[in-house]
Amino acid sequence: MKRIYSVLVENRSGVLSRIAGLFSRRGFNIESLAVGVTETDDLSRMTIVTDDETDSPERTFEQIRKQLSKMIDTVRVKALSPIECISRELVLMKLRGDAERIAAVCEKTGARVIEETAETITIEIIAADVNVIIKAFEEFEIVETVRTGVISLQKGSSTLM
């Protein structure tokens, strides 16, 4: 079961390592972590996705929320299930294969060709769940992949602050 944490933190040095350290030393699993500044200069926003396959993930999820809240640099934490969020992840992939065929798969999946050279084609995928789309390109030779990690906002007019 997945849980998405939206975390507003003070935009200071050391905060990312504090948060990452918290997850590793308490044995919490990070599936992805994305961080960037917000509309307010002194605040950064993290989107952290965790996955817990055990029978009782709620207790772990609650501990993660409480431990995140406890950090002095944390201004706000919200834990949401994926269906409560609008989520996006960006993937860049460098492929080798037939250009026409790659373009066709892009057309079908909503991916986009960014750069074409004689040897490789680089595409971008932007989606809530990029894994399905990545799979569609496995028929080609995948030379390189890079992912941003998921970023999320709560659906509707609710905000974090």
Partner: protein
């Protein structure tokens, strides 16, 4: 103004009277200004002892005669202990003490020197990333880059150490920053939008707790270290006595109820007594107060299911971590007692359902490993000590079998200071230095083992230098007794075969050693209790080497 002067003035503004530490090149500018200041400096012989001393110092704050005890709004606030060390190895030497303070939620501020700003990251001489190294064990930490930030950082550090759940805060200052010029303006208040700990329990939850206690037949209070941190000892005692509700403590909570009270059922946990552990099993309503219910206190939390469990803690993250309460309350212990009492009748039970004297059940949650059917000679010796000590005596216990034996000493208005969470050997002697620095007149005894004593014995020199009237009892079994016991319990019967060493320590003559420092000492081989009288009556430092 020099930044190191700004640092000193900031500490003076926080009411700091004492600092424990060890100097070195990267913190020299600060030590230079400290020398001529109003702040008393204690030079220990190893950095960890400075941290343990700050710990002992902080824990006795609020007591009569204690230096540096602040009062805010008529209520004494907890003094923050301060320790200081140089960069690199010096700072790393503080780590065991920082981790110890974190595990036991003790408010200390550690100040460390750092290599020059321009050299940070270059693996310079005595450079260590102490901020990174200490990260898992600090409540918060600061690397000072701008000297103008020093007053704000000191203000925040002292606030964070003592507010909410208390703990250690680290301030790391590069040596060039200490020498820089800066402006000094001491901030009146702390402005941390991201840190607003809840002190006052939710009214609705407290009403639920009151209703549950009224409906209960066998309520039991489990008092933890938070009762001390919150200065709620007298409130707890009044509450238990007027309601006739029995009390058990965790090791950190010892002393929260008098050892003479019939309501005091003793200490729970694997090193506790069966009376207290049975009570956990027999009670229908458990009121955990400032106790995190760690696995040494509650090794089998699943066996408590079905009971009403009220869990009061200032740290929301402790609630639901080790035990699942039916009524969670995020609150300061003091606030909880005040609000709860207001919702209960003046007296709830005419007689308590359990008292220290009677045994009501043979059922127990788990075996306690340290109860023997017959009193051991050491237990008898400490029983006599219980009779001899002044009511306010503070027992500072180290780690191991000596600690478990010392935990049975009956305290009345005293404290039991130990490294409860981290189990840091060598804690006791350093912490005693802190206790006596806070108040030289404080009745106090350090109880340590031959193992822990050897980790800290260099501090005999500190005790001698500052003429501290330190009373030390070494429970000397010439080995690492508890390590041996746990090995046996784990089925490693052949110690010599299972371990690289036979765990006997090849001790020196501790009496001769103490005397070489100019400290009075005697070796006791027959548990002769007259030795205890000589220890307690001594006006100067005294060491008893009790061979068991």
């Amino acid at each position: 103004m020099f930044a190191s002067t700004a640092l000193l003035k900031s500490l003076e503004n926080e009411g700091v009277k004492d600092i424990f530490g060890y100097p070195g090149a990267a913190i020299n500018p600060f030590f230079a200004v400290l020398a001529g200041s109003s702040i008393n400096f204690t030079l220990v012989r190893a950095e960890a002892s400075a941290g343990f001393a700050a710990n002992g110092y902080a824990r006795v704050s609020g007591r009569v005669g204690v230096r540096g005890t602040n009062t805010v709004g008529g209520r004494s606030t907890n003094t923050v202990g301060v320790c200081a060390a140089t960069s690199g190895a010096g700072a790393l030497g503080l780590l065991p003490a920082i981790a110890c303070a974190y595990a036991d939620s003790i408010p200390i501020v550690a100040i460390t020197g750092q290599v020059k700003t321009a050299e940070v990251g270059s693996d310079a001489f005595q450079e260590a990333d102490i901020i990174g190294a200490a990260e898992p064990f600090v409540k918060y930490s600061y690397l000072v880059k701008n000297p103008n930030d020093i007053p704000r950082i000191v203000r925040e550090a002292f606030y964070l150490a003592a507010a909410g759940r208390q703990g250690p805060v680290l301030i790391d200052i590069p040596v060039d920053v200490q020498e820089a010029e800066c402006d000094f303006y001491y901030p009146e208040s702390v402005n941390l939008r991201s840190y607003n700990p809840t002190r006052e329990g939710n009214v609705f939850q407290i009403k639920k707790a009151a209703d549950a206690i009224i409906a209960s037949k066998r309520p039991l209070i489990i008092a933890g270290g938070g009762v001390h941190s919150s200065n709620a000892v007298s409130l707890l005692r009044e509450f238990a006595a007027s309601m006739n509700i029995p009390v058990v403590s965790t090791m950190m909570g010892l002393g929260s109820i008098s050892g003479k009270s019939t309501l005091n059922l003793g200490m729970i946990g694997i090193h506790g007594n069966s009376r207290a552990n049975n009570a956990l099993f027999e009670a229908d309503t458990l009121i955990f107060i400032g106790a995190r219910a760690g696995e040494r206190s509650i090794p089998t939390p699943e066996k408590l299911s079905g009971k009403e469990i009220i869990h009061v803690d200032i740290d929301p993250a402790e609630i639901g971590k080790n035990i699942i309460p039916t009524i969670p309350i995020v609150s300061d212990c003091t606030d909880f007692f005040v609000k709860l009492s207001a919702r209960l009748p003046e007296r709830l039970f005419e007689t308590p359902w359990a008292t220290a004297q009677e045994k009501t059940s043979q059922e127990t949650l788990y075996e306690t490993s340290h109860e023997t059917p017959q009193e051991t000679p050491l237990e008898r010796y400490f029983n006599v000590l219980s009779e001899f000590i002044a009511p306010d005596t503070i027992i500072v216990a180290d780690v191991g079998n000596n600690q478990i034996a010392a935990s049975k000493i009956r305290l009345t208005d005293g404290r039991f200071l130990t490294s409860g969470g981290m189990g840091s050997m060598g804690y006791a002697l350093g912490a005693l230095i802190g206790v006596l620095t806070a108040n030289r007149e404080q009745n106090s005894i350090c109880i340590t083992g031959d193992g822990g004593f050897q980790m800290s014995l260099a501090e005999l020199a500190t005790i001698k230098t500052y003429s501290l009237p330190a009373k030390i009892i070494i429970v000397n079994d010439s080995s690492l007794g508890m390590v041996k016991d746990t090995a046996v319990n784990m089925g490693i019967t052949s110690i010599a075969g299972g371990f690289a060493t036979d765990l006997s320590l090849g001790n020196p003559d501790f009496t001769a050693l103490a005397k070489s420092y100019g400290i009075k000492a005697e070796t006791v081989k027959d548990f002769n209790t007259d030795s205890l009288k000589r220890l307690l009556e001594s006006k100067s430092a005294y060491l008893l080497n009790v061979v068991i």
